[in-house]
């Protein structure tokens, strides 16, 4: 079957930095692909290449069969893009921004206005239609950004970290809007740093790190693969630390992470907890902390990459 989005061996370098190091992607029409990774993993660069904003140094990508380099103009007609960088004009009102895009897409003035108000109503921005965007709250701003990418009713939507920096309520509002679009048959490529977001929205998740795909699967498959839970043990005596590390490591089958006195390891089997308790008891180790909690993205990364997800403020892609 023909893929809505397809990429093979995408490479993009910025000077000494390799942002994409051979990325393959395949997205079926009408599904949501979650591109999951930490800051600086190459997510934004991948989206920018697929949205024709950047040219790859190697590899090939198509959107609905159109090559993103040679047939960029066709691709632009099919894709709506929303991201922190693909923004609206703060000096204009919400309505003016949408009318501007409608006019640029070739709509007559009347239809552009009609479409703008339709979208503003749909995105619950009707009251703010004639206010300058710089007066909008973060959540309103993101909804307008999303609306702006839908003016031309594109069959594909690229959302680059659509909820980063939003409060939980604004976040779930945006999720609901995205789900409605998917129900209408839109194919979505979504990047996120949050496991729960990918879990909530994506049919399939691609985990990338340092420009490479390190895991692919449905959210369920990934959770099974990475354990999905995390075991933390803190011995009362620092001298017991090596014993704890070896017991935990042996039972979990993965090398644990040690931060100070805290030993953590991703686990998939809930029966591990009593086993660890029993073995530590036998070894005469007293613990002050023993917890089993849901995996954070950091732990998923630890499992998949063998190194923690670095959350340094390294910005991705070009400085645009």
């Amino acid at each position: 079957m023909e893929h809505a989005i397809w990429a093979e061996g995408l490479v993009k370098r910025f000077g000494q930095t390799t942002a994409l190091d051979g990325v393959d992607l395949a997205v079926r029409p009408g599904t949501v692909l979650g591109l999951l990774g930490p800051n600086g993993a190459g997510k934004t660069t991948a989206v920018r290449v697929l949205a024709t904003l950047l040219q790859p140094d190697a590899g090939r990508a198509t959107v609905r069969g159109y090559d993103v380099v040679r047939q960029a103009h066709q691709v632009r007609q099919l894709v709506g893009l929303t991201g922190q960088y693909a923004s609206v004009d703060e000096a204009l009102t919400g309505a003016e921004n949408l009318v501007l895009i409608g006019r640029l897409l070739g709509m007559p003035r009347k239809r552009a206005k009609q479409r703008a108000h339709e979208l503003l109503a749909q995105f619950n921005l009707g009251d703010a239609a004639d206010r300058a965007v710089k007066t909008y709250s973060g959540g309103m701003r993101r909804r307008l950004d999303l609306a702006a990418s839908l003016v031309g009713r594109p069959p594909l939507l690229f959302l680059d970290e659509p909820t980063t920096g939003l409060d939980p309520r604004a976040r779930s509002e945006l999720w609901e809007l995205i789900r409605n679009l998917v129900a209408d048959g839109v194919t979505v490529l979504l990047t996120t740093q949050y496991l729960d977001e990918a879990d909530a929205l994506a049919d399939e998740i691609v985990v990338i790190d340092e420009g490479r795909v390190i895991a692919t699967g449905t959210p369920e498959e990934l959770k099974a693969k990475t354990g999905g839970q995390s075991l933390a043990v803190r011995p009362a005596e620092s001298s017991d630390l090596p014993t704890v590390v070896s017991v935990v490591g042996e039972l979990a089958g993965v090398g644990p992470d040690v931060t100070g006195d805290l030993v953590t390891v991703p686990v998939s089997d809930p029966h591990l907890l009593p086993a660890v308790m029993r073995r530590l008891d036998e070894a005469g180790v007293v613990v002050t902390e023993l917890t089993l909690s849901s995996s954070s993205l950091d732990e998923v990364f630890l499992t998949l990459t063998g190194h923690p997800a670095e959350s340094q403020d390294e910005s991705e892609g070009s400085p645009a």
Binding site: R64, R76, Q77, Y85, R103, L150, L181, A320
Partner: protein, 271 residues
């Protein structure tokens, strides 16, 4: 709403479409001014102040009479002010680049040249306003045309053509600068000496050493001379009119030929 219908996909943008898109983007800049009229006063108050200060504070000392000085200085003042206003092209472009508006525009199926052309076209409105403003203030203070309305219109057209070419310098500054404030700082730092070391405010002959040589080749002097010729006519203005007009056009062509490709190259590197 059904978003999933497969739209008809066209292979390219025609030049007429591209022109329409540029005009739509120019409309956007005009709307920005309507929302923020203070931006207009940014480049309206300062020129009025300059005309008043130069005429009444320096005029007597430089030319012996304020009205003689006004006649000499005003055409040059129009040139200087128009160049400063042209810097707004760079500031607007830089804002679009840093805020991400430019990427949004690039992600749309519009002609690749439309975002830049729209920006430059919109700013011609501001430039025209700056010319009319300085001329208007000058006429209120007693500046009189020595030629005809045709001469005046000729000067305005020449100024706008030159501004169109000079816009590309502003585009380059806008692309290279990190943020909009720096566009302004960089622009002023470069433009102030260039406009003052010209014949805008005083005749070149009064300057020492090698300065007159520079002043006479400075395109700002040449454009100011062309405007004097077109507005005042040959009896008042001592040179021939045709030479500075042609030289101004040559300068405009040269600036365009150097800075347009340079700006486009810098823009491609930045985005």
């Amino acid at each position: 709403m059904t978003t999933a219908t497969i739209p008809e996909v066209s292979p390219r943008v025609g030049p007429v479409e591209g022109l329409r898109q540029s005009l739509t983007l120019a409309w956007r800049t005009v709307v920005q001014v309507r929302h923020n009229p203070w931006e207009m006063s940014d480049f309206s108050i300062q020129p009025i102040m300059f005309v008043l200060l130069f005429t009444y504070v320096f005029g007597g000392a430089i030319a012996g009479s304020t009205s003689d000085y006004l006649t000499f200085m005003l055409p040059g003042m129009v040139v200087m002010n128009m160049l400063f206003v042209t810097l707004y092209v760079g500031q607007g472009l830089n804002t679009d680049l840093t805020k991400g508006v430019f990427d949004r525009l690039r992600s749309l199926p519009v002609a690749r040249w439309a975002p830049l052309a729209g920006r430059i076209a919109a700013d011609q409105v501001k430039q025209a306003w700056s010319i009319v403003l300085v001329l208007g203030v000058g006429m209120l203070l007693g500046f009189r045309l020595g030629t005809s309305v045709a001469g005046l219109l000729g000067a305005v057209v020449l100024l706008l053509v030159f501004a169109l070419a000079f816009s590309w310098v502003a585009v380059l500054v806008g692309v290279v600068a990190k943020d909009p404030e720096r566009v302004q700082i960089f622009g002023f730092t470069a433009l102030f000496p260039l406009t003052f070391v010209s014949n805008v405010f005083v005749p070149a002959e009064t300057m020492p050493g090698w300065l007159p040589a520079f002043v006479n080749v400075n395109p700002i002097s040449i454009l100011a001379d062309a405007c004097r010729g077109l507005m005042l006519g040959e009896p008042t203005y001592t040179g021939a009119v045709a030479a500075p007009v042609i030289q101004s056009l040559v300068w405009a062509g040269a600036i365009l030929a150097v800075f347009a490709p340079l700006s486009v190259w810098a823009l491609k590197r930045r985005v």
